[in-house]
Amino acid sequence: MKSVVKSLIGAGLMLSVGTSTADVAEDISRFQSYFLKTYPHLSLQDFQDGPYTFDADKRQQFQAVMEFPPFEDFVERGGKLWSKPFKNGKTFASCFGNDTAKVRPNFPRWDAQKSKVITLEAAIQNCLKSNGEAKWGWKKGKMAYVSAYLTTQADGQIINVVVPNNPKAQAAYEEGKKFFYAKRGQLNMACANCHIDNASKRARGNVLSAALGQTTHFPVWRGKWAKAKGDGFGTLHRRFGGCNKQVRAKPFKSQGREYSNLEYFLTAMSNGMTYNGTAYRE
């Protein structure tokens, strides 16, 4: 009963604040109810911590790392980039407003003018372009630092992705949904196969996270990305590409239609959860 109520909160939030259709609300309710029923000892917000929710040892390690996160300097760097004036004297605030806590929760969203889903990273890039600044890479570096800064600023804000009653927005959502459930690559696996069917189970040395709550804490700092020359930071689309490569599918371009729509669907499924700031992952 409690789990059903909790999942209805997620769907209800969306219906009360935005204008998403009943189909999307139904998807969210079923998605969240599945996880809450499968893991009855966990609350909706517990799923923010991904694989560390399921494994006590890994959770201890995670908590130890998060006491002195290896990414603090990069988040700080993101804050400095946010405030640093462009060549024309303006800053990012001219595009997004001054309340940094409210920036991340605005994305991903349907942009009716451009007729496509706009992610936070795409909006950052648009802001750079409109202010005559050079483009940033999509997956890491400055883009990841600023995005991580904004995710950290949004700690505690509620996720509320709206899918408006508009055929193109609905189509983008459905495309993202289909992507999530479609098997692909030589290993013939869908996102759902790992993150719904096998959530909490192991894939070699790693515990698979639940799809619920996956977007509450990106960009992430990953130990794997910190090896060799990397600084460990990466955006959500960087991770999407890595996952596709792991099932031996050719990855799509970051911030292209496929991954933007996937982000739209996946984030909507976590409606009602709160952002918990950028996080460490293995």
Partner: protein
């Protein structure tokens, strides 16, 4: 006379060497299978590689290309250039199968959706 005889011997040796035209034809003859297009002047390796490319193009069009297929096609092309025809054809056929499987995945994906709830 001696020079003419020497030239003839060298020509025969070249023709029957691994890089000679006749040797190539004899080798290719063994590689022609049921899929070989007799109206196409391309070699068996060339045909296998082009077939793989054509199928991979279709897989890419439906957004289901696999990670390694185009690398396999490139490798098959290099193998063919190096005269390793059997290996080139084998790899090209593998790449073609991958591309066809990818297209089948795309068809199945049209009905993709949740199955546990």
């Amino acid at each position: 006379m001696k020079k003419t005889l020497l030239s003839l011997v060298i020509s025969v040796l070249v023709a029957f060497s691994s890089t000679g035209v006749i040797a190539t034809e004899m080798r290719d003859a063994e590689m022609r299978d049921a899929n070989f297009d007799w109206n196409n002047s391309m070699s068996p390796a060339g045909q296998a590689i082009e077939a793989a490319k054509a199928e991979n193009k279709k897989a890419k069009k439906v957004s289901f290309e696999w990670r390694d297929t185009s690398k396999m096609i490139k490798k098959a092309t290099k193998l063919a250039k190096a005269g390793k025809i059997k290996e080139a054809i084998k790899l090209a056929k593998k790449a073609k199968r991958q591309a066809m499987n990818a297209q089948h995945q795309a068809m199945v994906a049209k009905n993709a959706g949740p199955h546990l709830f």
